[in-house]
Symmetry: D3
Amino acid sequence: MPFVNIRITKEEISSDQKRRLIEGVTKLLQDVLGKNPATTFVIIDEVETDNWGIAGEQVTTKRKREAKS
Amino acid sequence: MPFVNIRITKEEISSDQKRRLIEGVTKLLQDVLGKNPATTFVIIDEVETDNWGIAGEQVTTKRKREAKS
Amino acid sequence: MPFVNIRITKEEISSDQKRRLIEGVTKLLQDVLGKNPATTFVIIDEVETDNWGIAGEQVTTKRKREAKS
Amino acid sequence: MPFVNIRITKEEISSDQKRRLIEGVTKLLQDVLGKNPATTFVIIDEVETDNWGIAGEQVTTKRKREAKS
Amino acid sequence: MPFVNIRITKEEISSDQKRRLIEGVTKLLQDVLGKNPATTFVIIDEVETDNWGIAGEQVTTKRKREAKS
Amino acid sequence: MPFVNIRITKEEISSDQKRRLIEGVTKLLQDVLGKNPATTFVIIDEVETDNWGIAGEQVTTKRKREAKS
C-alpha cells in the first residue's frame, strides 16, 4: 500500500502527462517491490514557481534569468 | 503538539465539514494521547482529481467510469 | 481515498493507542465525508523530541524545563 | 541536499517575502550544517484559512473572533 | 527540480531495491516531463507496520490475519 | 502558526545543530512574516543516505564515489 507524493513546479503539465506519471510510478512499485496497484496512491502537487526555491532563489527568477541567456 | 495532515480529493467539501474534521481529529488526539488541543495543528489539503491516482488511474477517470456503470 | 499523516513526538505510545488513532480517524472521515474506509490510509510518524521545535525550542528542552517547575 | 517545506496560512504574502524566506532558510542550512545551496530545495505551501485548524478551530473563525475583540 | 517522496511499509527492502526505485522514478520524470535528473530528489520513508493503517486497521494486524488464512 | 519540515540526510547532526536550525527558522518566520514563535512548529527528519536519491543515485553511493576522488 505505497503512498507516493510527486512535487513539481506548476508549468503547464497536461492531464495526459499526469496519467503517465501515475501509471509509471504504480508500475515501478509493482515491478520492484511487488506492491499491489489497487492500494497504491500517487498524489501530484503542482507548486507555483514563486513558492519553490533552489540555490536560494525562486524558480520564477531562475526561469527569467535562463530565458535571457 | 501533534501535527495532522489530511489529504482528500477536491470535491465540494463545505467549510462546515472541514470544521468537523478539525474538531474531530483534535478531540481524538486529546482522548487517545492526552494531547493539548491548544497546540494541535490540522491541515486539510484538497487535491484535484486529475492529480490523485489510485490503482494506476487518475481519480477523474475512475469517477467517470463509475458514473457510467 | 483519504490519506492522513499524524505526526507526534516519540514518547512511549503503545500499539493499542496507535490502533485507536487509526480507527478514530478512519471513522471520522467516513462520518463527515462518507469516505470508504477500505481506501483510507493513516500514517503515524513518531518524531524524536530533539527533532521537534515549538516556540523556537526543542521539545526535549521544554520537557526538562516543565519537569523542574 | 536539504529539502525544506514551509507551510503557512494563505494571507497576502508577497513574492518578496517568499524570496526572503527561501534565501534565509538556504543560508541557515549552509551556516549550521555546511549544506550546499545549489542542492537546497525550499517549497512554500500557502494553506486556505478554512483548511487550517488550531486548538480545534478553523483559522478563519479564529481570525474573525480576534478581529472583534 | 522534482521532489518525490515514496512511503512504504518497513518490510525488508534491500538497498538494491531502493536504488531501483530511485533510478526508476528519476527516469520517469525525465521521460514524461523532461525534468533534469541532476536536480531530482527522491526520498523513501519506511514506516513501521504498527504505524500504518488501512481500512481502519494496523498493517501489523492485517498481515497476521492474512498469514492465518 | 507556521509549520516547517526540514529533511536532511542522517549524518551525525548534533542536538546543538538541531537547536540552531529550530531557532533560526522560527526567528526567520517572525522577521519576514511577523509569525508568532509560540505557535511555530519545526520538525527535522533525518533520512538514511540509502533512502535519499539525487540525480538517480543513492546518496550512500554518491558519498563513496566522492570519497574516492
